[in-house]
Subunit: 150 residues, 2 copies
Amino acid sequence: MSIVLYSHDYFMSEALKEARVALAAGEVPVGAVVVAGNKIIAKAHNQTEMLTDATAHAEMLAITSAANYLGSKYLTDCTLYVTLEPCVMCAGALHWAHLQKLVIGAPDTQRGYSLLQNNILHPKTEVVKNVQPTACKELIDEFFRKLRSQ
Amino acid sequence: MSIVLYSHDYFMSEALKEARVALAAGEVPVGAVVVAGNKIIAKAHNQTEMLTDATAHAEMLAITSAANYLGSKYLTDCTLYVTLEPCVMCAGALHWAHLQKLVIGAPDTQRGYSLLQNNILHPKTEVVKNVQPTACKELIDEFFRKLRSQ
């Protein structure tokens, strides 16, 4: 008998699987899952190269997919797990989606939304940081190491 | 013989046509066009209700459409005309797209990106404000007047 614990670690591991799919496809390796009632209702990874679209970040695709699943623009009862801290665009999108909870793997010290002086998330969004940050950051580091050696 | 002047006014009028399509569909009336070499390569209007997607702002749809037309993630030689000042999400997207020029109709005193203390647009993006602001704002005011009377 196997027991699945629906912890932040478990769902971040699922987001990491998405990030690895991105890495294998030559994309910046960021993955995201949206969870409602302990069920994953959307999974996505960064696809800016594949879709030739600068807006196709993991979080944007996950928000659209989750909204489509729920039939609602609002993710008020949802948690989004993402391997890298969202950028300003994605944090702005999470604001509009009225996200309940945001769980972040590694901080983004270059482009993270928290570098801004203003809080741009929805005031009701709870934030949890540093869930498996080392594993999340290692994927990013691996991607840029490969890119520089090409 | 008719002469078309490719002015900011001309292209903002085209963005206003898109905003009116949104209004007729019961969407917040914001329209956008993307111009490259005096040619409109993308048109879009807000479709958050139609698509049940909080990210489906006019600018986001126009960026994706223009990138698809150009076969490039980057809109480095493009001007985006939008009837209402972009929000934080859309300005963040315009950053990633490396937009050359942003032309704004009316300011958004509630949700505009310029309310932030940091400049979140790409440092190379030139900004032109207040092109037909009255016509652009009137559509927004008409929408909310109708909404409140329902």
